[in-house]
Every structure is written in C-alpha cells, then in structure tokens.
C-alpha cells in the first residue's frame, strides 16, 4: 500500500524528517506516536502533498505510484485521505455542496459515473446517521462556526463518503470529549476492511483503546526510533517518551 524509504524533509532549511522508513500493507492500521515537534504532522502533510515541504531525499511509493510526482488532488483520486488536525472553514459553501463536489471529483478521477442528487443524498444520510452527524450541520457552510468535535466528526463523514484506500488521521483525537472520541473511533472501525489501511497520528494512547492498531511506531527527531504492537503504546503511556528511549 504505502512504502516510505529514507525520507528526508526540510521546512525552511530546518531538518524535520531525517531518514524515515515505513511500510504499510493493505488492511493494516498503523499508529505513529511522538512528542511535539518530532515531525508527525510534517509526515501527514508530505504524504498528502501540501506545499512548503522540501523533500531532500527518499522515496514514497503509494499503490505502485511515485507519490511525490502526484498533485494533491491526484493523490486524493488514487485513494489517499487526510483527516486534518485543524479543518479549515469555507464560508458560503454548504457542506452538502462541498461533499457532493468532492465525491464527484474523485469519481471522475476514477472514471466512474458522477452521483446524481438523489443517490448522493441516500448515501449521505446513511453515513451521517452512523457517525451521529446532524443533517442541519451538513447544510451549513463547511466547518464554519463548528465546534472542535463537530469539525472532527465532519472529517470522518467525508472519509466514509470518499472511501479511501489509505486514510491518515492527524491528531483526530485532540479536542474530543470521550463520547465524541468513541463515535469517531466507531466510524473508523466501521470502515476497516482487508483492503483499507489507516495511519493514525496521535500524542496519546487513549484513541488506540478504541481503534486498535496492528503496529505502533515511535517518532523522535524525524526518525522512527521504535516499532512494536499495541502494547508499545501502553508502555509509552506509562513511561513517557523519555522512558522509552
């Protein structure tokens, strides 16, 4: 699914990622944990193609594509999804319109027929109900005036509509109360299958109680310093990042 080899990335001449390696197979859920400034969000942004990241060295292969050659929208079309840490507000654009536009853009990329209004609504209602997202919220402008929890729920709704092959969750748990956390985790677990992979970026082990990872990696100073199974996260929670090193 995803293979990252010896990735070096600078941001404004500052070295952030320094030789990162990671391989995710189809159907696997990986968690990346690490202290502030270890390069977690940089990794998410480089994978999704945000500007301002200078890839100095290394290779990223996503489903047999050289990922670094693709535009962000092409990566989305190929099935890469990023649930943002801070989803941005787009005033005046209704969620309904936004969701339908994004779905049809991705379908168009895959050379599938675009969804008409009726079929789109059918699918939307089903998915929104599952993650307990109020339909009135979807009618409002995208993320505009949403609470932290509503924004994250909206990200998960988009993920479930776009049905990506690889979903990256960038600190989706931050700012969520326990009920919202469970709903979000439930949404993710429901999407898990043999083909779909997840990369979960988080500070805390808490989310991993609900979304159980196959592998846990600890990122420090731009490198993965330790990998293990879900127990590594529990150990980390007890000892802290200092204790693991």
């Amino acid at each position: 699914m995803l293979k990252i080899e010896n990735l070096h990335v600078n941001v404004e001449d500052k070295k952030i990622l320094q030789g990162l390696n990671l391989k995710i197979s189809p159907g696997e859920t990986h968690a990346i944990m690490g202290p502030n400034g270890s390069g977690k969000s940089t990794l998410a942004n480089v994978l999704s193609g945000k500007e301002g990241y200078d890839v100095k060295k290394g290779k990223i292969t996503f489903l047999n594509n050289n990922l670094l050659n693709l535009e962000p929208e092409e990566r989305a079309g190929e099935g890469l999804f990023l649930a943002f840490q801070y989803p941005v507000e787009i005033p005046g654009v209704s969620g309904m319109n936004f969701l339908r536009t994004t779905i049809n853009s991705v379908r168009k990329y895959k050379k599938q027929k675009e969804l008409d209004g009726v079929n789109f609504l059918k699918i939307l209602r089903k998915k929104a109900e599952f993650i307990k997202m109020d339909e009135n919220l979807i009618k409002r402008s995208v993320n505009t005036g949403f609470s932290g929890g509503e924004k994250k729920r909206s990200e998960i709704l988009q993920m479930s509509l776009l049905e990506p092959k690889l979903a990256i969750l960038d600190e989706t748990d931050s700012g969520l109360d326990i009920d919202a956390l469970k709903t979000v985790a439930n949404g993710v677990n429901n999407l898990k299958n043999k083909e779909r992979s997840f990369l979960i970026i988080t500070h805390y082990q808490r989310l991993l109680n609900y979304i159980v990872p196959d592998k846990v990696h600890i990122l420090s100073n731009g490198k993965i310093v330790k990998s293990g199974d879900k127990n590594l996260a529990i150990e980390l929670e007890k000892k802290g990042y200092e204790g693991i090193k």
Binding site: E73, L82, V88, G92, V93, N97, F98, T101, S105, L162
Partner: protein, 483 residues
Amino acid sequence: MSIDVETKKTVKSITKKYKYGFTTNVESDKAPKGLNEDIVKLISKKKDEPKWLLDWRLKAFRAWLKMDEPNWSMVKFPKIDYQDSYYYSAPKPKKKLKSLNEVDPAILSTYEKLGIPLEEQKRLAGVAVDYVFDSTSVATTFKDQLAKLGIIFCSFSEAVKKHPELIKKYLGTVIPYTDNYFATLNSAVFSDGSFVYIPPGVRCPMELSTYFRINAENTGQFERTLIIADKDSYVSYLEGCTAPMRDENQLHAACVELITLDNAEIKYSTVQNWYPGDEKGKGGVYNFVTKRGACRGNNSKISWTQVETGSAITWKYPSCILQGDNSVGEFYSVAITNNFQQADTGTKMIHLGKNTKSTIISKGISAGKGQNTYRGLVRMGPKATNGRNFTQCDSLLIGDRCGAHTVPYIEVKNQSAKVEHEATTSKISDEQMFYCRQRGLDQENAVSLIVNGFCKEVLKELPMEFAVEAQKLLGISLEGSVG
C-alpha cells in the same frame, strides 16, 4: 476630402436612397464613421422617429459636445476617439457565420462548460440558424400570453411607434439627457433596446428576458431600456446572457431607466459577460453603463442584481432614487476582474421619502492583475425621516498582483436616518486551497467553489436558471488565475 465633408456627402446619399424605398443590401447600410448632427438626424430618420424624439436627441448631442469624459473613476484606458466609430449600422451589424466551425474555439469551449444547447450556441455566436427549432414561435407564444394581461414588451423602436405617449411621458425622467458624458452620448445616438410596461395590478407571470423578444438581436452598442411598473404591479427582468457574446464594438454605453409607481416592484438582474480581452490585456469591451431606477410611488421597490464578469472595463452604478415613502432599494453585486480587467462599480441610494430603506451587498473579486473598485453613494435627504441603509462590501483577492478598492460616500441630512457600512478584504488562503485539493478538487474547481461561497448572498438573489449558469461562469472567468 475632410472626414466631415465626406460624412455629409455620404449621409446625404444614404438619406436620398431611403426616400426611394430602402432596399439597399445589408452590407452597405452603414453611415460613415464619426459623429455630428447629421448622423444623429440620420439615426432618427432611419427609425422613422417623431420630431420630438429627434429634438431630444439633438439637445443631448449639443449637451454632449460641451461635456468632458469623466476622469474620477479608478479605471485607466487610452483616449477614445469618438470620431473613429460607426454610430449607425443596421439592421444586422454582425456578420452571420456559416457554421460553428468559424467560431473561436475558446468561446465554444466556454459554451460547452456552461452546458448550452447546440442551437443556442449558434444563436449566441452569430451563426445563421435554420429555424428547425423555432425560437421565434416560442417568442410569439409568450408575447400573446403577455398581451392578454396588457403587458407591453417590445423593442424600444416599436414602442416609440405604438406607445409614443408612454415614451414621451417617461423617457429621460430618471436619467436626464444631460446626466453624464456616456448617458448623454447614448441619448443622442441610441440604437434600440427594450421597453416594458406592466399595467396596474398585474404581476408579470414570467421572467422577462430579451431572449424571448423578437428583434432582440443586434441592438448594438448604444442600448436604451425603459421599464415602467404601474401601481401594484410586479416584474422580474433578466438582461444579458451568461455565455460570452461575440461583439466587434469596443465601446458600449447603455442606459436603463426603471420607474415604479405605488406598491410596484421591479427586480432587474444582469449577467454581463462581454469579451474581457486576452491574458495580455489586448482587446475587450469598454462597458460604460448608466442604470437608474426611481421608486416614484409609496411602498415601491427596485432591486438590482448584477454579476459582472466580462468587459475589459466596467463602469457602472445601478442606482435607486427612493422618492416614495416606505420605498425600498436594493443592490446586489458580484464583480470579477481577472488578467487586466478593470471594474469601477457600485451604486447610489438616494433617500428622499420617509422610512425609505436600502441594502447594498457588493462582492468584488480580483485576480491576475485585475483592479476592482466599489464606489457607492448613500444620501439621506432632509425629508428622509427614519431612512435606513445597510452596506456590506467584501473584497476577495486571488494572487498578489491584483487590487481591491472601496470608496464609500455617505451624506446624511436627516438626524433620524441610520447608515451602516461594513467592509472586509480577504484572500483565498493556502489552507482553503489545500483542503479542497486534498478532497480531490483541482485548483480551478477549488477556486470556483470558494469564490461561489464568497458570492452566495448575491447569487441567491438571481432567478434560478440564471443562478446555475452564473455559478459556472464565475469559475470560467477565473480560469488561469491560480497555479
């Protein structure tokens, strides 16, 4: 031979021909270049106008000679040589093309993106249409239906002939022939346009659009429109067309006058997409338009909605004179400038009567090297007790080489009047763009989506079918503005 002598000679010869029956071939029916009293007389004569109208034109022409081109706006353009233009060419100034193959492929691709049917594409591009799909008969059906209600909807020339009393009563009462340089020029040489009269108590059952009017084509560069809504009546009027119009005329100076009597309402919507010039700023239409409405009656209302995406230069201030007590004026505007386009547009809300209300929502979008200015006047006269105005001007910048300017003028002469003005300037953020692209939208679609959101308050004022095309048009106008 000096131009002047040549003009006179040719005019003479044409007028003579006319006496003997006007059967010259279409190609040659063009007055010589330049503008003088003879040309004004020729225009009037060709249209078989009554003497009072010719006199009005001549008064305007003489006034125009003493006026100077206005220079207070932000738009910059090379000096126009008014003597180097044709002021009369009829009846078909546009060359008919044989097939769509002769049309600029760029224009065709825009038609396609807008989803315009093939027959309609031909009409817009000026291709001779075999009336297999007979739009003329459609128009006739509508005309019959309107006539039953007593609604008059015809070309200006036809109205001069059939309803001279209405024209005489209202023409120039909102925009006097001395009003401003371009309006005065229009008053002297206007070619044709639309006339609408809605009788008392009638609610016009359909959106009136030039599209449904026979003889609507080729009204030329000096259009004149007059709409009168008599007591307790209502009409919604659509002007223009969302597809790019092929036009060889560079200077456009149109006039639109609206009049509402007691309890009447006029809703006037425009989508303007004239040729904006190329990416290098070459070519494009200069659109100098005077639009003004008078709420003469009590409780009457005039609402302007405009989406201005075309023209190299847009100079336009659709205004409302709120004379009647409790009358309401509205102005909703989206103006886009991309590449080298310039727009100086806004409105004037003149509050004269008691409890008059006005709302101004203006959305300016600048991209490329475009310059966009909102210029608006809100005046509360001494008798405008409890007058209210709310103005909101938002500017959106795309890229770092464009400009947005807001120039509000506020004059309040009544203590009880209230005027509110809000203004914002923002940019499409990199975060918004990336968010949309991460969800699969390419750059152009992302810009289009964000811009449509920005303009939503204005777009929702447009009649439904117009709104859908206008949305697509916003995206098309901004093509090439990012990346």
